[in-house]
């Protein structure tokens, strides 16, 4: 199935991209999406993730068409 992956801030800078579409097996988790999208790069310890713009946990299961985002702790305001 195809899903969209977005990276922000330092994670995007390190990876060298902000947005990508990848193919992944049914039943894949968010952590598996990270590994597939970054060629097994280490996920920064305090990284946060979201499915379709809602915060989620790394073992959440993704579905076709989902938008998965990874980003560091937020620093707005």
């Amino acid at each position: 199935m195809e899903i969209k992956v977005k990276l922000f801030a330092s994670l995007a800078e390190t990876a060298g991209w902000r947005e990508s579409s990848i193919q992944i097996a049914d039943g894949a988790t968010v952590l598996m999406v990270w590994a597939a999208a970054t060629r097994e790069a280490a996920l920064p310890a305090r990284a946060l993730c979201a499915i379709n713009m809602d915060y989620c946990v790394l073992d959440a299961v993704v579905h076709a068409g989902d938008e998965i985002a990874f980003f560091p702790p937020v620093t707005g305001g």
Binding site: M53, A69, P73, V74, T75
Partner: protein
């Protein structure tokens, strides 16, 4: 029925409260006080409609972690950022009796002295306005998807985390 006065009518037919909020993401400098004045003029038909306004304005400092900061870039997650800010304003409206809320936040390149964020809350009495304004601001700082990158004399660095609200 003669006893059905306007006051009683309003008690009997009061509609469920509507959550009033406005979220604005800006990529250009803004004057928070001009935003407040124009928002009030636009939203309230008369100033007597509210009794309390609490506002918080966050401004870019020219120093951080002991280093002079020349400028900053604010990254965000278009869509999720607005959604999260709407959710926290709706949450605040459930916890306190609020008349309206306004959140304005900058993104993109920012210079020292420019406003980064404005949170404003209108209510009938001061406690709700004070407490909801703080609540919205603290949630924004800890959960809304924005990220700061500072420009120093010798390069750039991402801000790792925000200072706790108590300091």
């Amino acid at each position: 029925m003669r006893w059905f006065t306007p006051v009683m009518r309003s008690l009997f037919f009061r509609q469920s409260p509507v959550v009033e909020m406005t979220i604005v993401i800006k990529s250009a400098p803004f004057d928070p006080y001009a935003e407040l004045a124009s928002f009030e003029a636009r939203v309230f038909s008369s100033p007597g409609q509210f009794g309390a306004t609490a506002t918080f304005v966050g401004t870019m400092r020219d120093f951080n972690e002991g280093d002079p900061v020349q400028g900053m870039f604010l990254d965000h997650y278009p869509g999720m950022t607005e959604r999260h800010l709407e959710a926290i304003c709706a949450d605040a409206s459930e916890r306190w009796s609020l008349l309206n809320t306004l959140v304005v936040h900058r993104v993109g390149a920012i210079a020292p002295g420019e406003s980064i964020v404005l949170v404003a809350v209108w209510s009938a009495h001061r406690a709700a306005a004070f407490e909801a304004c703080r609540y919205i601001m603290e949630d924004l700082k800890s959960k809304a998807p924005f990220w700061k990158k500072e420009t120093l004399a010798d390069g750039t660095r991402w801000v790792i985390e925000n200072t706790p609200g108590g300091t």
